[in-house]
Every structure is written in structure tokens, then in C-alpha cells.
């Protein structure tokens, strides 16, 4: 499928980018560390999908072509709980919808050519967007995107196959606290966005909104709804004043402090 979209141009573009990079690549360490957290998660996905009755071929296709961890877990979970295929796809796509929201930010770091963009699209996920947007310089942001995209894609696929083959011999990753690794990584990669008052307000308000709507919405929806938080952040940015108190914005949403 991807070959039809022009595998060769974007691989060539990637090699060119790596070759032309003369400075250090500060994002490399981020990519490796995130991979270390993605690897056991991929193994877990393989184990869970295998237990839910997915055969190896479908696990391979899913990890290679869907390549959005949260959606894959959701789809497999719904099937495992006896849900319909439609319900599985619906909940998976709600979780995948945030990837569409990363696009407007990621566009500036992506190549202009259509085949390269079609290749790049597959890698627009939480982790790559976080690693890339943590970089202020545009060339680093682009390098970080491609590097993390390809590394994470390879790790995710290899590990989900390993999980499917190994089965449940590894114990539950919750025992090692793996479920806290991803939010902690995101906190670290969120930090550069909090340098401005508008960024802090966007983050704080989005967190409050997301928590507030959890009880009344399905999986994936709180993340999408949280973008209404851009409104107060934009208001502050337009007024170009410091907020009176960072905590003031969440006073009307007590859920912000559970």
C-alpha cells in the first residue's frame, strides 16, 4: 500500500536529511528512551491481541498499517469483550482522531511533496509529535519527526510480533509501572510548551476540560474536546498580558484537582 504512495522518494529524503545533518541531534536520546517504553507496550499489544483471538497475520497488518497504539488496544479490547467489529472500529477511530489534530502543527516540519507527505502521514502519532514539537528549530523538528517515526514503527512492529509469539509468559506490565511511563514522558515533552503564559493556560485548561468530560463521554472524546482550551489561551495571548494567576483559570472546573 505504501509503495504505491512512493516509498522511494521519502526514504531518499530521509537519507538525505540524515546525511546533511552536520550538528548534533539532540532528539536522538528522546527517540531511544521513548522506544524503550514503546517496546514493552508493543509486546503487550501482541500478547493481548493474541489472547483476544487475533491471528499473527492480522496482528502484523494492524501494527504496520494502523500504527496507533491506543486505537489498536481499543479495537482488540472491544473484540475481546464480545463487541461488534463496528464498535471496535468506532472506538479505535475516536482515539485516532487526535492524530488529525497533530497535522496542522506538524505540517510545517514535513516535506512539501505529496508522496513524501503520504509516507509521513503514517508516522503522525502522539510520540512523534511530542518528540518533534519539543524542538524549537525547524530542522531539528523535522529530523526528530522522521527519526522517531521510523524507529518507533520498527520497534512497535517487531515487539508486537514478539508479543504475539511469546504469549503471556511475561506477566502484566502494570507490575513494573509501565502505564505511568507514557504520561511521564508526555510531561517531559510538554515542558517546553509551558514556557509561555498562553502555553500554560492552554495546558491547564485542556487538562481541566478533559477530566471534566470523562464521566459523560466515551474513550478518546475528552482529548478532542480539550482543544476548546485554546480559546482562553488565545485570549490571553491577544491581550499580551501575564495572566493574573495561573490557577485562576481552573476555578470553575473543580475536577482539575482530583
Amino acid at each position: 500500500m505504501k509503495a504505491r504512495f512512493g516509498t522511494i522518494p521519502w526514504i531518499a529524503g530521509l537519507i538525505g536529511r540524515l546525511g546533511s545533518s552536520d550538528g548534533s541531534r539532540p532528539y536522538l536520546r528522546d527517540c531511544v528512551i521513548v522506544s524503550l517504553a514503546v517496546a514493552p507496550t508493543g509486546v503487550t499489544f501482541g500478547v493481548v491481541a493474541d489472547a483476544a483471538g487475533f491471528d499473527l497475520a492480522r496482528i502484523v497488518v494492524m501494527s504496520a498499517l494502523v500504527f496507533t497504539g491506543a486505537s489498536q488496544f481499543a479495537a482488540v479490547g472491544v473484540i475481546n469483550d464480545g463487541g461488534s467489529g463496528g464498535a471496535a472500529v468506532g472506538s479505535a477511530l475516536l482515539l485516532a482522531a487526535r492524530n488529525a489534530l497533530y497535522g496542522p502543527v506538524m505540517r510545517r516540519s514535513l516535506p512539501a511533496s505529496v508522496p513524501a507527505r503520504l509516507g509521513a502521514a503514517q508516522f503522525v502519532i502522539d510520540e512523534t509529535t511530542a518528540i518533534s514539537t519539543a524542538r524549537t528549530n525547524r530542522r531539528d523538528a523535522a529530523g526528530a519527526f522522521w527519526f522517531s517515526g521510523i524507529i518507533l514503527w520498527l520497534v512497535w512492529n517487531a515487539c508486537s510480533v514478539a508479543g504475539a509469539l511469546l504469549g503471556a509468559v511475561l506477566g502484566t506490565p502494570e507490575t513494573w509501572g509501565l502505564d505511568a511511563a507514557f504520561p511521564a514522558i508526555l510531561v517531559a515533552l510538554l515542558a517546553p510548551h509551558l514556557r509561555t503564559a498562553a502555553g500554560r493556560i492552554a495546558a491547564l485548561a485542556a487538562a481541566a476540560v478533559a477530566l471534566g468530560v470523562v464521566p459523560v463521554t466515551g474513550a478518546g472524546v475528552p482529548i478532542l474536546v480539550s482543544i476548546v482550551a485554546l480559546a482562553p489561551a488565545l485570549w490571553v495571548r491577544t491581550r499580551r498580558t501575564e495572566p493574573p494567576a495561573a490557577g485562576g483559570t481552573s476555578d470553575d472546573t473543580p475536577d482539575a484537582a482530583p
Binding site: A100, P104, G177, A181, I185, A202, A206, L211
Partner: protein
């Protein structure tokens, strides 16, 4: 499976397509605030959400410890290690 593959790829492609470009122009420089909002929402959902309800469990302690590490400018590997260790410890003790 086809719907899932096409849908998830389509959503990613939609964001970086002309539609995403229109959103980017409409929001202007404010588009850079999108990651701040989305990642903050993801952090709290991954930390406090469990099967559609809000809960306070070992993850909160681990992520809080990780956040302190971030605030103290610890390297990412240490942030992850602290968050996992605290979560695992709290989980083992409770």
C-alpha cells in the same frame, strides 16, 4: 480491519492535508498551542482515567514523581525510571 486501517491512516493524512493547512492558517501562530493542550489532556487522561471513570491510583503518584523530576530538569530516562519505580512501588504496597 480494512475500515480500521483506512480510517486511522485517513485521519493522520487529513491533518497534514490541505484541510490541516486551512486549520493552520485559521489558527495562525496559535497552532503552536495545540500540542500544549492535547498533551496536557493526554497526560491527565492517562493518569486518572480508568474504564470511563476518574480514579486516583498508583499512576498518579508515579506521574507526580515524574513531574517533579521534569521540574528539577532531570534527563528523560530518569523521569521515566522514577515514574515507573514509584508507580510499581505504590502498587506493590497497596
Amino acid at each position: 480491519m480494512i475500515a480500521l486501517v483506512a480510517g486511522s491512516y485517513g485521519l493522520k493524512a487529513l491533518g497534514i492535508s490541505k484541510v490541516g493547512g486551512r486549520i493552520e492558517r485559521r489558527l495562525g501562530p496559535a497552532v503552536t498551542l495545540l500540542p500544549a493542550a492535547l498533551f496536557a489532556a493526554l497526560v491527565v487522561i492517562m493518569t486518572f482515567e480508568d474504564a470511563g471513570t476518574l480514579t486516583l491510583d498508583a499512576r498518579a503518584a508515579g506521574v507526580a514523581a515524574g513531574a517533579v523530576a521534569v521540574w528539577r530538569k532531570a534527563p528523560l530516562i530518569l523521569v521515566v525510571a522514577v515514574a515507573m519505580a514509584v508507580t510499581a512501588a505504590v502498587r506493590a504496597l497497596t
